[in-house]
């Protein structure tokens, strides 16, 4: 096996890490209030929102990617919006990949956090309220620390899922070197082109790296749990 990695492949490794980190961060910001609302709302349309969030689990990634392509394209709603806002077009850009990955990994971030919030229940928040904590204060001083394991799981899943994501990224990204050719796409291209040596190096590296990251997070989580 040849162990020297082509610069283009290194680029996709870096790009993948960047994408997964940005997506995980964004998902935490978006999924947290969403999960909070889903855990506490009693509105009739809660079920509809919950189903929408879970929907990416149902659609095959390439299909989701195709619809995103339509949506973000010049004739799509999102595409017209970004054009009107002078933001250009999203497909074939890093930003487009980020949006696609955020949507696709949404259920993996929302559900663990939502479960964590639900398992906390209302009582600790009521206790905090009787101790003069405002809603926001309750959230940060009680709900967040108690939901920590859920956040950890959400981060692990969101990160891992983005690293491994392929269908949406391929469809939406256009495989542009340094912009949208992430690791999974690079490996796929190598395999398809029967460049198995390069594919093995990248795939092996990706599996090893992901294993180390996940193991680290689980160990961290285990320590937290025992505390």
């Amino acid at each position: 096996m040849m162990l020297n990695i082509a610069p283009a492949d290194l680029q996709s490794v870096w790009l993948t890490l960047k994408l997964a980190s940005v997506v995980t961060l964004l998902l935490l910001l978006i999924a947290t209030p969403l999960a909070w609302w889903l855990a506490h709302s009693r509105r009739w349309y809660k079920g509809i929102i919950a189903s929408l969030v879970a929907l990416p689990l149902v659609l095959p990634p390439t299909v989701l990617g195709f619809y995103l392509l339509l949506l973000m394209g010049p004739h799509g709603v999102v595409g017209e919006l970004t054009h009107a806002l002078n933001l250009g077009r999203l497909p074939f850009t890093f930003a487009g990949l980020v949006i696609g990955s955020v949507l696709f990994s949404m259920p993996f971030a929302v559900q663990p956090i939502q479960n964590a919030f639900e398992s906390i229940g209302k009582r600790p928040l009521e206790v905090a309220a009787t101790l003069r904590a405002s809603l926001l204060d309750q959230f940060f001083s009680v709900a967040l620390p108690l939901a920590r394991p859920g956040f950890l799981t959400a981060m692990i899943l969101a990160f891992a899922h983005t690293v491994g994501e392929f269908g949406v990224v391929l469809m939406l990204g256009g495989n542009i070197d340094g912009e949208t050719r992430v690791l999974s796409v690079a490996i796929y291209s190598h395999v398809e082109a029967m460049e198995y040596d390069a594919a093995h190096v990248l795939a092996g590296g990706m599996v090893l790296f992901s294993f180390v990251v996940l193991l680290g997070l689980y160990l961290l989580g285990g320590k937290e749990g025992k505390r």
Partner: protein, 253 residues
């Protein structure tokens, strides 16, 4: 029911089944995705005339080749190129001498907007577009042809910042059909129906700008003795099949 009666019945049943296997065989065909529409028409015709049935799988030639190497149960491969059938032949996985070119792919520069592409392809030189989609030249023969064309025109370096790569020509077509890429190099067959191109604007790339895309078929070794597989490939070479193939915008050798 008497024993003798039921025996007769059983015998008749068995005879019938055997007759079926002898006269009406089944072919498992792996077909390059760009040939989806024409092969369906050809198979319909073939089944009507011979009583054989053909089961079709669509995908990329490279993927099929990798699968066949690992023992995938296909009888024939209709590839989008010449390279993959050659490879199988070399490795003894295809019947020697069974390989032939069933269609010559035609490359086209296409836009979903009508009037966008002129019939000389000047739009490529003029620029003014954001994205030019083509299939990964390592994976798709049409992608390779597109690359060769751009090189031949001396535009390869100029378009670097605008290139978007599809995994297959199907994806490349989708990039352009959704308007996300203004231009795309795809197969003429993808936009041809009943011998006519109906949507968007296009330029059929002159054949001298790229190496011929020799879509080749091969009979696989596992189906060496399968009469139905042989019959299907023979039918593919026949006049009726050729008419259908031409109507979808392919050339013939």
């Amino acid at each position: 029911m008497k024993l003798s009666q039921s025996r007769v019945l059983l015998g008749a049943l068995l005879c019938g089944m055997m007759a079926n296997t002898v006269y009406a065989g089944e072919v498992n065909a792996a077909v390059a995705a760009n040939f989806t529409a024409p092969v369906q028409q050809i198979v319909a015709q073939f089944q009507k005339e011979t009583g054989h049935t053909v089961k079709l799988s669509f995908g990329s030639s490279g993927k099929f080749t990798a699968q066949i190497k690992e023992g995938a149960p296909f009888d024939v491969l209709l590839a989008a190129d010449e390279k993959n059938p050659q490879l199988l032949e070399k490795e003894g996985l295809a019947v020697e001498g069974s390989r032939f070119v069933y269609a010559l792919g035609k490359l086209v520069l296409w836009s979903a907007q009508s009037g966008y592409v002129d019939d000389k392809g000047h739009v490529l030189r003029k620029g003014g577009y954001n994205k030019l989609a083509y299939a990964d030249p390592k994976l798709a023969p049409y992608g390779l042809a597109a690359k060769e064309t751009l090189e031949e025109l001396g535009l390869w370096n100029a378009v670097q910042g605008k290139l978007v790569t599809g995994e297959s020509i199907t994806q490349t077509y989708q990039f352009a059909a959704t308007g996300n890429a203004e231009l795309a190099f795809i197969a003429l067959s993808q936009i041809t129906q009943n011998g006519k191109v109906t949507e968007g604007s296009w330029w059929i790339v002159p054949a001298h700008l790229y190496n011929p895309i020799k879509q080749s078929a091969v009979q696989l070794s596992a189906a060496k003795d399968k009469a139905a597989a042989q019959a299907f490939l023979t039918f593919l070479k026949g006049e009726k099949a050729k008419t259908i193939i031409r109507s979808f915008g392919y050339d013939l050798p």
